[in-house]
Symmetry: C2
Subunit: 328 residues, 2 copies
Amino acid sequence: MGIKVGILGYGNLGKGVECAINQNPDMELAAIFTRRNPESLTPKNKNVSVINIADINNWIDKIDVMILCGGSATDLPGQTPKFAKLFNVIDSFDTHAKIPEHFKNVDLAAKEGNKTAIISVGWDPGMFSLNRMYANAILPNGKDYTFWGKGVSQGHSDAIRRIKGVKDAKQYTIPVETALSKVRNGENPDLTTREKHTRECFVVLEPDADPAVVEHEIKTMPNYFADYDTTVHFISEEELIKKHSKIPHGGFVLRSGKTGWHNENNHIIEYSLKLDSNPEFTSSVLVAYARAAFRLNKEGATGCKTVFDIAPAYLSPKSGEELRAQML
Amino acid sequence: MGIKVGILGYGNLGKGVECAINQNPDMELAAIFTRRNPESLTPKNKNVSVINIADINNWIDKIDVMILCGGSATDLPGQTPKFAKLFNVIDSFDTHAKIPEHFKNVDLAAKEGNKTAIISVGWDPGMFSLNRMYANAILPNGKDYTFWGKGVSQGHSDAIRRIKGVKDAKQYTIPVETALSKVRNGENPDLTTREKHTRECFVVLEPDADPAVVEHEIKTMPNYFADYDTTVHFISEEELIKKHSKIPHGGFVLRSGKTGWHNENNHIIEYSLKLDSNPEFTSSVLVAYARAAFRLNKEGATGCKTVFDIAPAYLSPKSGEELRAQML
């Protein structure tokens, strides 16, 4: 009998969680919960129950962990505290500035329900945070660098789509190779926004739009593009669908630090991800932490946790003996 | 009042620990313990007590964590269980095949003394093991790769020094770039020993030695060199001292894994280290885990642990609130 997992929200992330559960023999998908009409969903898994969120209370005893697959802007701030009273929950809340507040709300709720909640799980926040933290603990005298990409930024793609005359668009964030090389060489550069990333945009225009006007509007857009070297390509809708429908992403977390009595030795710790599918990778991290939440709750740990609070062994289906013999 | 740390053994690793403690304001070096005549040691820290190991029992109440800096072959199998009865201890035991046995011995001893022991701390085993484990938990359907170097292998350097006619030698293990590229490209290659690493040797000969004979003996040495493409350079003792006295090392841990309902998406997780000083980096990891051992023991956790069992936050001097606000 596996760990019974529920999925709340069946967008890209929820679909990724469905796939990831399928790769983990110790877990089983119990049900998918949705705000939509359940009959409008067609899960990949033909036999799974699809339930309207209004009936979620009937599932309290049938779900070991609920993975919340909503968005950080409007879904999770309400959903995670609400459902942490009823279920062990995992979310991927990624509004960095609001994490302390979200943590507090979820912690209160989870303790009230004697449940275990793990928030901000994924790769950034998530695996990138973990690697920053480990590297800082090991090399206290050093400097951190994070580069994102090459990958699709949903926020920047949306910003382009809101411009008058744009029918559709995809934006790639690209780390600057020379900046990355300087960091790897231990040069500890101070890098401006422009020196770290470039932005490449693929844009489909409405029939009457003026490409020069649209390009100017993109390149001068404050916060999103003005501080970057931005390239704009106008392409057909067919080409956008054919060549830019995937959601790849990734990035690099580096720490460059000194050791020795006179700080004479330099060390570079680098963690990087190259992901064909951003949501599927995030989902895979969520599912590993769902295993941890289930186990921790069984041991009596309640309240809100983050990746910093979870001993790595809780993520693995292997026993302590197996991990020590095979992976140490 | 900081965490009071003892160092047992004052070789390269012990010296590195001394430097690392100096970088961590919440820790202080209480004493260095040695089997040698204490007066023969000259610590970098002028005021620290140097104590013969015979008198270690007088320090039981004055040390929060003892970092054992001996070797895995003959020192640690006896020392770690012995001192885990008396102190919270950290070691860097790295004989992979004997870890399960060492764990058992240390666990019994630490539980007997109500102490916390963390074994096999460093980078491999240690940070590399952690990254293998996290990556396996996230991507169950995948393949692991570890490359070492570029760096000095002490074992291979020693093996060359044992050859008749060799006065001194340094051996560098070098990862093969094309193999690494194939892995990064998601090609999931099956790699032979020869395809993964090359070996480069810098050798100082005794006056009468025949370079051709020595080179042949190195290149055909079973286990150490026969399965690798090996380059041998004969150089002067002066050049060896001038250019090859540092102990750099590093390496790469990669996992290439598939997600999606039809395994249609590939992901690469890569962790790498580029270290100017192998012992100083290892020491820095030991000191971070010493903080964890101290805290865990204060919470009542006893027995033997590995890096898999330690929640990351225990390594950091920052509070949970600080970590969430600054690093998540």
